[in-house]
């Protein structure tokens, strides 16, 4: 009985892991990274992730950053990503929203800060 239940528990526990393995990096395309450079149009320094919109050369990108506590710990204070600041964000475009990308790292005011 216990052995059968242990097996059942492993199988039930494994299926979300299989789904994750199948999808890899969630809904972001890590094979085609983009770099968005330009002026910050809007900035929300909020949890669960800070978000900015950036006037890129091709379009306005929504750039998803990191949780605010991690941003602060790494020196990305609200002023660094305030409206009007110049930023360069390297990251992965969303496969769901063509105007959104998730930043791996950003460079602003001469500082490069990892978001993960």
């Amino acid at each position: 009985m216990l052995r059968r239940m242990a097996l059942a528990a492993v199988l039930v526990g494994a299926w979300p892991a299989l789904l994750l393995a199948h999808h890899g990096w969630g809904s972001y395309d890590a094979k085609n990274p983009v770099t968005v450079t330009g002026k910050i149009l809007t900035s929300q320094y909020e949890n669960p992730h800070a978000t900015i919109t950036v006037q890129g050369t091709d379009k306005v990108w929504t750039v998803t950053l990191a949780p605010t506590s991690r941003m602060r710990n790494r020196g990305a204070m609200p002023e660094l990503v305030a409206v009007g600041a110049e930023v360069s964000a390297y990251g992965y475009p969303s496969t769901a929203d063509p105007n959104e990308m998730r930043a791996e790292r950003i460079t602003a005011a001469g500082k490069t800060i990892e978001m993960r």
Binding site: V12, G13, P16, Y45, E46, N47, P48, S69
Partner: protein
């Protein structure tokens, strides 16, 4: 904010309390940690209850074990719901439109209905059973279904972030 969401969810997300949760450095991570810890306690209580219903832990008084674990599960579920409501409020309009979240909420509703009616009936059937008595088929079914539903709820909850 996702403008395709129902108005009351947009109102919830854009409310002062929603803004406070997002703008505070500590409220969101604290609620997130509390949610996981509450789920751990809930899953532990559910596991004890459901394996006893399925016939494991023979030698213990089935009615006492299951009723005790059920009370612990109810308390833990309250903590899960409170911490979950904080997380939901921060991004209500986005999360509500996430298909995985919708399936999770439906399963939670089924899980609670199952616990009240089928689970309740299974618990009452244990009162006359001794420690070594084999579990009735109905109780085994109730325990297996409960475990499957609640583990699925937790799995789906984690998968919301990837959908």
């Amino acid at each position: 904010m996702n403008s395709a969401a129902p108005g009351f969810l947009i109102a919830l997300e854009t409310s002062e309390i929603g803004a406070l949760i997002r703008q505070s450095v500590w409220i969101y991570p604290t609620a997130n940690i509390a949610h996981v810890l509450a789920i751990v306690l809930f899953a532990g209580a559910i596991a004890v209850m459901d394996v006893r219903l399925m016939g494991a832990l023979a030698g213990s008084d089935p009615a006492r074990v299951v009723r005790g674990a059920r009370r612990a599960a109810i308390l833990a579920l309250i903590a899960v719901l409170v911490s979950g409501a904080v997380l939901f409020t921060a991004e209500a309009s986005h999360v509500a439109l996430n298909g995985v979240f919708q399936i999770k909420m439906a399963l939670i509703a089924f899980g609670i209905v199952h616990a009240l009616f089928i689970g309740g009936r299974a618990v009452r059937a244990l009162d006359t059973l001794g420690p070594q008595a084999p579990m009735p088929g109905f109780a085994r079914f109730a325990g297996a279904l409960s475990m499957l539903m609640w583990l699925s709820v937790v799995g789906l909850g984690r998968y919301i972030a990837y959908n």
